[in-house]
């Protein structure tokens, strides 16, 4: 028996263009940041988020009404939207920043996402935000939590499994936590942040890549959303991690303990 009046789900997936995971990061000579003139691609955690949205649609069929992706960044950031559209997202928003503007910080991003969700209300209420738990460039890991806070929504972070019941408007999420996993039931609307084990993202097929090229990307500016991306943090210095120095061998446990003590390690 079909439940009557199945609630249709609108999913928003924020994605970020980041330095590709395979690139060897180099600090610039001025020590103000890293060399950005390298290959970029979609933040891997965001790829997992897009994949999860597409899989939800494959499972729930027509109950997923829309999958919209959004990115905030310079003109080139639209590349990751194309990737997401090729993977199966329906439409995209690009909040375009000037080429050389500083990278927005988590709070600015969360505010912009809130503004987009409020703006979307006119056409379709967003019920579910699925996003990466962190971006692999600055590893802040804050945006999802901040967004949930700003919206007053529930949050299920570090998800390794997501089940949505559209009729009951709830989701059961398995979370990766210290020492194991935790299963929680949440009410929609909800912010979910993805962990590595949630799924393995697909490769876009060639026909889908070609179709994605034809989809339009809605362009917005920070002013359209009344959001100020001015950084609140000041980066003092960026340095390479110290190069590892070789270790030594010890003959006995006693010698090891002595060495540890000598190095300043003590039992707690």
């Amino acid at each position: 028996m079909r439940p009557s009046a199945v609630r249709l789900l609108n999913i928003l997936v924020p994605v970020k263009r980041a330095v590709d995971y395979a690139v060897k990061i180099r600090v610039n000579p001025q020590q103000t940041g890293i060399d950005l003139n390298v290959k970029h691609s979609m933040n891997p955690f965001d790829e997992i988020a897009v994949e999860e949205a597409v899989r939800l649609r494959e499972r729930l069929k027509d109950a997923v009404k829309s999958i919209k992706v959004v990115t905030i960044g310079p003109p080139k950031a639209s590349e990751v939207l194309r990737t997401a559209l090729a993977m199966g997202a329906d439409s995209a928003i690009h909040v375009e920043l000037p080429e050389s503007s500083p990278a927005p910080e988590p709070l600015g991003v969360a505010q912009a996402l809130r503004a987009i969700i409020q703006r979307e209300k006119e056409s379709a209420d967003v019920d579910l935000v699925i996003m990466g738990k962190q971006a692999i460039d600055d590893d802040a890991g804050q945006t999802g939590q901040m967004l949930a806070g700003l919206l007053g929504w529930g949050q299920a972070t570090f998800a390794s499994k997501v089940d949505v019941d559209t009729g009951a408007k709830t989701a059961v999420v398995m979370r990766e936590i210290d020492g194991g996993s935790e299963e929680i039931r949440c009410k929609l609307p909800l912010v979910v942040t993805t962990d590595l084990r949630l799924n393995e993202p697909r490769y876009a097929s060639l026909p889908n890549i070609m179709k994605a090229k034809k989809k339009t990307i809605e362009k917005l500016t920070a002013a359209d959303l009344s959001v100020d991306f001015t950084p609140r943090l000041e980066t003092l210095k960026v340095t390479e991690p110290p190069t590892r120095v070789g270790g030594g061998k010890v003959e006995s446990v006693d010698e090891l303990v002595a060495k540890l003590k000598e190095a300043g390690f003590t039992a707690v």
Partner: protein, 404 residues
């Protein structure tokens, strides 16, 4: 390899294909080469995501892109992750040999055959070369004799048929009327077929040829003895097959040029990495100009060949689209042959230099370059020799008298 000059679509192809290739590391190709084992999983992975249809029409499940994009795909396959020629050759015929079919097949043939090739359900081999007519294609003697019911019986021998051990379809060029007979309009008397390739049939015998390189991909002698072929296999008009396959051949030269380039860039990358890190007499060997200069020269050769290759592919696409009537078929032929020649020579130079740069390690399977050196002879020899390309350019471009 620098990527300036490529279109957005070409770059998208390169990015997507290198992602798929990254699942098939160099060890996969080393093993398949050593064990002479078909890279079936690789073919299936490309088919699954629609890549075999890159240059086939959209209404048949393809993506309607050109040979320019397909060439990028082939280059990316041979260049990234160490697949080399073997990786490219495992799908090669599916991309170019289907071009004449898409263009000259009837609606029914196209709709019946092409979607299964794109989906990877059918794999294709290309049956033109014969032991007694290599480059002299017009003299080939495998015959398809029309039967009273309209079907054909094929008798004869083909050689160097790639993937005949795994293919379920063959694009076949066979004689239907004797050469120079007044009965055929062109006087050539060859017809083009897309035939079911049933190795269990007693009229068909396939024998694998042991070879120097690209051992993952089989090459074969194929013997036909009254092998029955349905009437519906004939593509286009009877006796007009030679004209039809010419459309596939220039495309093939472009793809092969791309494959050679990929091999060359891969070898050069390996060699320069080694030259940067291998320390002898207290400094990296790349410090020595005796090592560095030949590598730099290889790079320049590859870049030159790359320009020629993508120029030829672009000309092929423009000519095929009919957008520019000032480009003649011969111009495409000259460009495609030039590209194939230059890319093959540049690849050979790079692969040989890579082995020399790695020294003893270059001789070890683990470092891949010995495999690529063995493979890079293929684009130098096939599908047309260096000498015949020089003849062709001498005759068509320089208007010199023909010697043969």
């Amino acid at each position: 390899m620098p990527t300036s000059g490529f279109t957005d679509t070409q770059l998208t192809v390169r990015e997507a294909i290198s992602q798929i290739c990254s699942r098939f590391p160099n060890t996969y190709w080393q093993e398949h080469d050593q064990n002479e084992q078909d890279p079936t999983a690789f073919h299936a992975a490309l088919a699954k995501d629609g890549w075999l249809g890159i240059a086939l029409p959209e209404e048949l499940g393809g993506s309607g892109l050109g040979i320019s994009e397909a060439t990028v795909m082939m280059q990316t396959i041979s260049e990234t992750s160490g697949a080399g020629m073997a990786g490219a050759q495992s799908i090669h015929a599916n991309v170019y040999a289907t071009q004449p079919l898409a263009r000259f097949g009837t609606k029914e043939q196209r709709e019946h055959i092409i979607p299964d090739i794109i989906a990877g359900k059918d794999r294709v081999c290309f049956g033109v070369t014969e032991p007694n007519s290599g480059l002299d294609t017009l003299s080939l003697s495998t015959t398809a004799t029309r039967q009273p019911d309209g079907s054909f019986a094929v008798t004869g021998q083909k050689i160097w048929i790639t993937c005949a051990q795994v293919a379920s379809k063959m694009m076949l060029l066979a004689r239907t009327t004797p050469l120079d007979s007044k009965e055929s309009k062109s006087g050539i008397g060859l017809s083009f077929f897309c035939i079911p390739f049933d190795r269990s049939h007693p009229g068909l015998n396939v024998k694998r040829i042991k070879k120097m390189g690209g051992r993952a991909v089989d090459a074969n002698e194929v013997f036909f003895d009254n092998y029955p072929v349905p009437a519906s296999s004939l593509i286009g008009t009877m006796d007009e097959g030679f004209r039809i396959i010419l459309h596939g051949l220039n495309a093939e030269r472009c793809l092969l040029a791309g494959e050679a380039l990929g091999l060359g860039y891969a070898a050069l990358k390996k060699a320069s990495e080694y030259a940067r890190t291998r320390v002898v007499f207290g400094k990296p060997i790349g410090t020595n100009q005796g090592i560095a200069h030949p590598l730099a020269e290889c790079w320049m050769k590859l870049e030159g060949a790359r320009l020629a290759t993508y120029h030829a592919a672009r000309m092929y696409d423009v000519h095929a689209s009919g957008r520019d009537s000032s480009i003649r078929a011969t111009d495409v032929g000259v460009a495609a042959n030039t590209a194939k020649y230059l890319a093959a020579e540049a690849a050979f130079a790079a692969c040989e230099r890579a082995v020399l740069t790695l020294g003893g390690m270059g001789y070890a399977v683990e470092y891949d370059v010995e495999r690529w050196l063995r493979e890079c002879l293929v684009p130098r020899i096939a599908p047309v020799s260096r000498e015949m390309i020089l003849n062709f350019v001498g005759e068509k471009v320089l208007e010199l008298p023909r010697s043969y």
